[in-house]
């Protein structure tokens, strides 16, 4: 269901936070996942619809090399997840998109691979970008082992022991995906086909399912290898330990152009998130049980932050500050009036704790009220159609800019620093990169991501050069100056969508792309952000999620702020 088709909310809402508060890089770069993040909504749906996951083929040799197939039975139609595990020379191991070999490659397909498809898939899927998919394949992905953890776990299980707790905490996953492709790339099924299939109507659900199955495969894979090494002493891994393991991911700059290029989708995502928060803030009185749940979640969140490994100095400091500030939130909750407690707490947090703690609080609050917020997951889609209105007068266009894009005037684009960076696609597998405009070649081919600059320049053009001709139409203007077409269409299409634009300058010398990555990754449901620079980050997904055979468990939906419980591991 798209946002346009969603029913009007029947529950009270506080006013949504204004975009000038929400859509700043520093704040979206502090987002934590919520219960309407895509990993959570997928797992809930799998449980609600009683999806069944079986493993009709698992032909791996003693070194774990071979083919595995999982079948996913959904009410709409079956799907298959196919994994090809290979030998990877250490010299070929890199998480970069420019890699050409991986430990394992995957596809999610709508056609039974056992019916004569394996050969074709085997000839193409391990090649990834260099291969070709068919419209029956929905997702293409690959992963590398965590060298630190995978070998340790295989060795421990082969010896009949559980893996070392500290090592699990330090990494948190057995494999890391380095790309998850969908939406028609490399011949895959188009998004329109996915929507028509009846299985996937919401964004990124197919990709999330693929990652969930990568996790399942990684757990089966390591046990298979351990068993092959020592069938006599092998011990399977504790289910609770398995559940604590997720899938790692290394994410680079590619997500940033996506966010700018899909503004209506981003508006839908952030609106759903902000609406969830607004509904919770409007809850007039919190009952004792809900307050207890809040305290328990806050405590779990503290444990989660203590188990958040990162080598990044800034993120380490942010985690340390979080641990200092979460108790303050607990104290404030106890001291604030019960009437309008959550609204009062959010207001208190805004002036007493950092953005990390504010946004963690928001995620905790959203977690408290499934009945109020869960239906919002159906509003995370968008038609993404951008419409130009050619009959609009330039005067009206200028007013639109001054009303909805006044924030672009905060930046001085005459200053070199405001134009210092440029985003581009490298000839190396089209990897998105960030260059220094005045030091590197290639800025003439920059990706069009500088919304603030472009709207600012359009405004200058209209206000200065066209001041006497503001009754002319957009059609007349664009016939003379077609270079403004994209910017005009953007302004006209997004004027009524408060969260469509990030209100920062993405080509400024001080821009931190990592904030954009965290925004999108948190919407996916990623945790344990571990920045490796301002340009890329490691994360974990599905840590704490129920295993494939535990989707109907009582705690199957209670995995916010996942924690490795005391006593697990050796």
């Amino acid at each position: 269901m798209t946002g346009a088709e969603a029913p009007a909310p029947a529950v009270p809402e506080a006013p949504l936070r204004p975009p000038e508060t929400v859509m700043r890089l520093a704040r979206v770069g502090s987002f934590h996942p919520t219960r309407i993040s895509f990993t959570r909504t997928l797992v809930r749906r799998m449980a609600r619809e009683n999806w069944r996951i079986s493993r009709p083929l698992f032909e791996l040799d003693g070194n774990g090399i071979g083919t595995a197939i999982y079948r996913i039975d959904t009410p709409a139609s079956p799907l298959w997840f196919v994994a090809f595990a290979d030998h990877l020379d250490p010299a070929d191991r890199t998480d970069r998109v420019i890699a050409e070999k991986w430990d394992a490659t995957f596809t999610l397909t709508a056609r039974d691979p056992m019916a004569g498809e394996i050969e074709r898939l085997h000839a193409n899927i391990p090649l990834q970008e260099a291969g070709r998919c068919s419209p029956e394949e929905l997702v293409l992905s690959r992963a590398n082992k965590s060298v630190r953890l995978f070998e340790h776990v295989a060795d421990a299980l082969a010896r009949g022991r559980q893996p070392d707790r500290a090592k699990i905490l330090d990494v948190g996953y057995l494999v890391r995906t380095t790309a998850v492709y969908g939406n028609g790339k490399f011949g895959l099924a188009d998004l329109g086909k996915l929507r028509l299939s009846g299985v996937f109507e919401l964004p990124f659900q197919a990709e999330m399912l693929c990652v969930y199955l990568v996790r399942q495969f990684s757990l089966d894979w390591v046990e298979h290898i351990a068993h092959a090494r020592a069938p006599g002493t092998f011990a399977p891994m504790d289910d609770a330990l398995k559940r604590a393991l997720g899938v790692g991911n290394a994410t680079g700059l590619g997500m940033a152009p996506f966010l700018v290029g899909h503004p209506k989708l981003i508006d839908a995502w952030i609106t759903a998130r902000e609406t969830a928060l607004a509904r919770v803030r409007a809850a007039t009185k919190a009952d004792a049980g809900t307050v207890e749940r809040f305290r328990a979640l806050l405590s779990r969140a503290s444990d989660h932050v203590r188990q958040w490994p990162t080598t990044d100095g800034l993120q380490q400091q942010r985690c340390a500050d979080l641990l200092d500030q979460l108790p303050l939130l607990r104290e404030a909750e106890a001291s604030l009036p019960r009437e309008g407690l959550w609204d009062g707490l959010v207001n208190w947090a805004e002036s007493h704790v950092d953005l990390e703690a504010q946004e963690l609080l928001n995620s905790v609050l959203i977690e408290l009220y499934p009945a109020l917020v869960d239906e919002l997951e159906t509003r995370t889609g968008s038609d993404e159609i951008m419409r130009l209105e050619p009959t609009m007068s330039l005067g009206d266009l200028l007013a639109l800019i001054d009303t909805h894009y006044a924030w672009v005037r905060d930046f001085d684009f005459a200053a070199e620093a405001a134009n210092a960076r440029f985003w581009y696609r490298s000839a190396e597998k089209e990897e998105p990169r960030l260059g220094w405009r005045f030091k590197e070649p290639g800025s003439e081919k920059e990706i069009r991501i500088a919304v603030a600059r472009d709207v600012s320049h359009l405004r200058e053009t209209l206000a200065d050069q066209y001041a006497g001709m503001l009754d002319a139409t957009v059609a007349e203007f664009l016939m003379a100056f077609p270079e403004w077409r994209q910017t005009v269409r953007r302004v006209q299409s997004l004027a009524g969508l408060p969260y469509a634009e990030f209100r920062d300058n993405l080509i400024d010398a001080a821009c931190r792309p990592i904030d954009l990555l965290r925004c999108k990754l948190s919407m996916f449901g990623a945790t344990k952000f571990d920045p490796k620079s301002d340009l890329w980050t490691r994360i974990a997904m599905f840590q704490g999620a129920p295993l494939a055979d535990g989707l109907d468990g009582e705690d199957a939906d209670d995995w916010a702020f996942p924690v490795l419980a005391e006593g697990l591991g050796s």
């Binding site: 070709r132 895959l188 077609p482």
Partner: protein, 229 residues
Amino acid sequence: MSAGADSHVSLAEVLQTSLKALEGTGLPAGIDQDSAENVAWLEARGLGGIAILARELERFGETVAWLPPDMDETRDGVVITSEDASAVLLAPGAVDFALGGAAVTIARCSAPLLIAAEAARRAPAGAGLTVSWGSGRNRSSARCGNGLAVLSLDIRTARQTSDVTIRAGKPPSAKEGQRLAGFHAHSLRDGILADAPAWKTVKEAAARVLVPASAQSRGGAGAEVDDSA
């Protein structure tokens, strides 16, 4: 990989590769987007969008410069003339004027089917646009609106340079639009088998948006640290 598999493509690939090809050829931002969507619209409906784009790209050469067209208001509407009256360049602006109520004619317009695609994509709900070109037995036309289109093409001349007129018209009924909608559904389901030489031309043009790699540029991707742990 089987022979020809490389030209069995998705609609998303058609759109994105066409967009890069047009961006790499120097089309104004936004014109390239509209034109790429027109190419994808035609290709999805079995009307050879990729081949049309490839021909226009070959005609443009490495780059194309925007030459402001002449706009003459006549008794019959607006007439657009340009030194390069390619529909790749002029379709978006011409339909802009048509949506304002004017009858618009592009003189000696190459790739007229792209105009039909632009009109079909943008005709507003409840209203319609009719695109026509050629005359007499060689007349071709497209009636568009409500997200649907019905085409009547003279197969010998429909792709040839011609005067093209866009004017308000009656939108097609659901039944009339069924045939092209069926082609679109088929393309979504099974993908598209693109004309291989034309697809190659488009892909080569798309590569123009790429910046050559260097040691310096690799630093701009991050990940210069050991990431194998």
